[in-house]
């Protein structure tokens, strides 16, 4: 009691003159902010508000107003309101503070300090509408050279066999968000969208629900440390297999699905008891060193008769380049790097905001290291963590990535407003919840169209950006640092990125 309550995070107000008392806000809010009284009046409890915007987006009269931090503290550059409130929270509880979504600290965004090139005079730009523009991407191991001989009769013979690769019609894939962390309807929407746009989505570590089986040719199954839902049926159904070692939001620690979200269906898919917390330990307990990883990769390939590519996902940390080089030697087909802005359903706030490095620097140093060691062809590099638009994608590819995973962006296209309260399981958009009444609000037919639209529009923009740079094949953008310039980036960062400053 002596600490008192912290001020409201958000204040909700209704413009009573606009309000037509349709009660949509009452019905839609799953956090209990609104209460209908007998006389038709609506009472507001702002303290419960999470800024999910469900009520605002459903109000037919735009009568609802939301303000953040409605109560001022004395301003202070070091002791921000957040810093003060975290201390109060921990003093009260004695526990680790959990939070959702990606890094919320005010680090500079490297993407926003990189600019792209366009051709003029010395080179024509290419119009992607009228001339061919190739964004087709193949992910997987590539040979370092081809053994091609000319026969005596003049025929050309190819003696090298190619490893299995995934074929993508666009370099944008949908990242791993597990069933349990998100609802089945949300996962279904993502799977349908991936099939519609000729790309792939990840199952996350929650297993593969049977409703997703029709889309399994566009699904990458994940094997995480908890091995949830991993059996031979699961492995056989995926188009590729991804071993999750870490994720950008919480490098070094494992996954955590609170028991509240483990309903019957989730527990069945994950093969754990209902209501229990689903904990993925930090390391895979059969991988304590790099050679163990190679064993797991080969174990998975052997189980699936070497027919499927195997990816390895790591968080971007300081020695990410060295780890990636080790992964390249382990028979894996791709390295997925999750930068420190990667999203999550739940992570300790201190990890989410302080551990890991930006994806831009990680891709650049991984690409450089693999090139230096002459092994860049052994793995594809997939970037993820805070990709917001097609410019971020173009820049990621120019820095060395073969493709990207999007996470938060795909959720936003289904309605998410990034309120960050995923761990509570009350998402009113039907995304990060298992409550049937909420999940039914998300119509996979409609939402898969939205996600597909997002991927389509970014693919169109990417074509335009490439055309303007005089490039008609995505292979020629990959690692092409000379098409980027850094604006207001320090020398050290420019050096790591191998990018020149603007004007140079």
């Amino acid at each position: 009691m002596s600490l008192g309550s912290v001020p409201l995070k958000y204040r909700i107000q209704i413009d009573r003159q606009q309000c037509m008392q349709c009660m949509r806000c009452v019905y839609n809010c799953s956090y209990g902010v609104f209460r209908e009284e007998d006389d038709g009046n609506i009472l507001i409890d702002s303290r419960k508000c999470t800024a999910c915007h469900r009520c605002i987006s459903m109000c037919p009269r735009d009568a609802i107003n939301l303000s953040e931090h409605p109560v001022d503290y004395r301003s202070h550059p070091l002791w921000t309101p957040q810093a003060r409130e975290d201390v109060i929270n921990q003093s009260r509880s004695g526990r680790i503070v959990l939070a959702g979504m990606g890094n919320a600290k005010d680090y500079p965004i490297i993407y926003d300090r990189l600019v792209l090139d366009a051709c003029q005079v010395t080179n024509p730009s290419i119009d992607p509408l009228r001339e061919p523009m190739e964004l087709r991407t193949y992910l997987g191991q590539k040979p370092s050279k081809l053994d091609i001989r000319k026969q005596e009769n003049g025929e050309i013979k190819l003696n090298t066999k190619l490893s299995p690769n995934l074929e993508l019609q666009t370099p944008i894939m949908i990242g791993h968000m597990s069933y349990g962390a998100i609802s089945l309807n949300a996962q279904l929407s993502l799977a349908k969208a991936a099939a519609k746009t000729g790309t792939y989505m990840g199952t996350g570590e929650g297993g593969l629900h049977k409703d997703i089986y029709p889309y399994q040719d566009n699904v990458i199954v994940q094997v995480a440390s908890g091995r949830f839902g991993v059996d031979i049926n699961y492995l056989d159904r995926g188009a590729a297999i991804e071993i999750k070692i870490g994720q950008g939001a919480k490098p070094g620690i494992g996954g955590h699905l609170p028991g509240e979200k483990v309903c019957t269906d989730v527990s069945c898919t994950r093969m754990i008891p209902a209501g229990s917390d689903a904990i993925s330990p930090a390391p895979h307990h059969d991988i304590y060193s790099i050679e163990d990883l190679a064993q797991l990769v080969r174990g998975l390939k052997e189980a699936t008769e070497w027919k499927k590519p195997v990816f390895v996902k790591i968080a971007a940390v300081h020695n990410v380049a060295a780890v990636a080089a080790g992964i390249a030697r382990s028979s894996a087909d791709a390295v997925v790097i999750d930068g420190f802005r990667g999203g999550t359903g739940a992570a300790p706030k201190v990890f989410r905001d302080n551990v890991g490095i930006p994806i831009e620097a990680a891709i650049a140093s991984v690409d450089q290291k693999l090139n230096d060691q002459g092994i860049r062809n052994k793995v594809s590099v997939i970037a993820s963590g805070g990709i917001r638009n097609s410019a971020d994608i173009a820049k990621s590819i120019a820095l060395g990535a073969d493709a990207v995973y999007i996470g938060t962006a795909a959720l936003i296209s289904m309605g998410c407003r990034v309120c960050g309260n995923c761990y509570r399981g009350l998402c009113p958009w039907g995304i990060a919840t298992q409550r049937e009444d909420l999940v039914s609000r998300l119509d996979p037919e409609v939402e898969s169209e939205h996600v597909a639209n997002l991927i389509k529009s970014w693919t169109l923009e990417l074509s335009e950006l490439m055309g303007a740079a005089g490039i008609n094949s995505i292979e020629s953008l990959r690692g092409n640092r000379s098409r980027l310039r850094g604006y207001m980036l320090d020398e050290g960062t420019l050096d790591v990125l191998q990018v020149k400053p603007v004007g140079a």
Binding site: C119, T122, N123, P124, I126, E131, P132, E134, R136, Y138, K142, P143, S144, K145, L146, I148, K150, I156, L158, T160, L162, N165, D367, N371, D372, G374, R376, N377, A398, A469, G470, I471, N472, S473, E475, S476, L477, R478, G479, N480, R481, S482, R483
Partner: protein, 351 residues
Amino acid sequence: MCGIIGVIDRQKQKMNGSGIKEALSLMNERGSGEGAGYAAYGIYPDFEDCYALHIFFDNLVEPKSKVDDIIQKWGRVVHQEEIPTKEQPNLKRSHVPWRYFFKPYTDLMTGSLTPDEDIVKYLVMEINSSTIEGALVFSSGKNMGVFKAAGWPEDVANFYKIDEYEGYIWLAHNRYPTNTPGWWGGAHPFNLLNWSVVHNGEITSYGTNQRYVESNGYQCTMYTDTEVVAYLFDLLGRHHELPSEIIVKAMAPPFWDEIDEMNDKERELNKAIRLTYGPALMNGPFAIVVATHDGIVGFTDRIKLRPLVVGEHGSRLYISSEEAAIRTMDPQVEDIHMPGAGEPVIGRVVT
């Protein structure tokens, strides 16, 4: 812009440089007087087993002694001299062009299937990197040589007395620079070992191609995108032993929608090439002619943004930016045609 022309006499009958000088000068509209160059094969019959290293020296004191040192560690200099030149009023003498006739000590390069070439390649990369200032190797093949400078084609030709050399393959280039101002090292042809390249256009995929060759042991030091083409040919041709048609397919491949329509065998081959050699794919407008001692290859980018014309007459094959240039060299030329986008035109020495 730039104008290019290449010719091969398939029966190795020699031509002197006067013809190609005329042809190149006809294309002065395509150039800017900031660079021109010639490459010729078969011109040093007396030293045909030696690597003819052509080097620009800023002066003959420091840089030359450093180069003398490093070369003599790796092999024997059979003969050396300043390349004979004749002063031209419009050509500023920025460097001293020198040539060494060099035989490497084969057993010094271990673990290589082509030790002599690897020694010479090593020397070229070493001298051209910043460790030795004031020296630049611009030609390093056997029984062939590149002659280039910053100036108009006739001036460069007369400076090096091109008329006095007799070769069975000639390449020439008239430069209008796109990125760096005219300097002697930036003129074409670019050469490494027996590969010489002339290029009209600009490579938008340069950053990607450069990383690929650099991860395979080459160093790009000439500030000009064309350099990477010579290294790609050396890597794919000499190291990976790919036939020329396949190298061109890697650099100017058919589109995926065309590959999808091919028969199984063709599709598999083209897909394998694109997947493996993606970083060698060249984007941007270009018309390129590459020469080596047993043939020339000409090709354009896959959407034909630059012109290329081919002509034949008897044992001679001509490839150029303009028909008029070919006719200047050979008024009786027949069978003039234009190859398709990305389609290789190959002229081989008949043995």
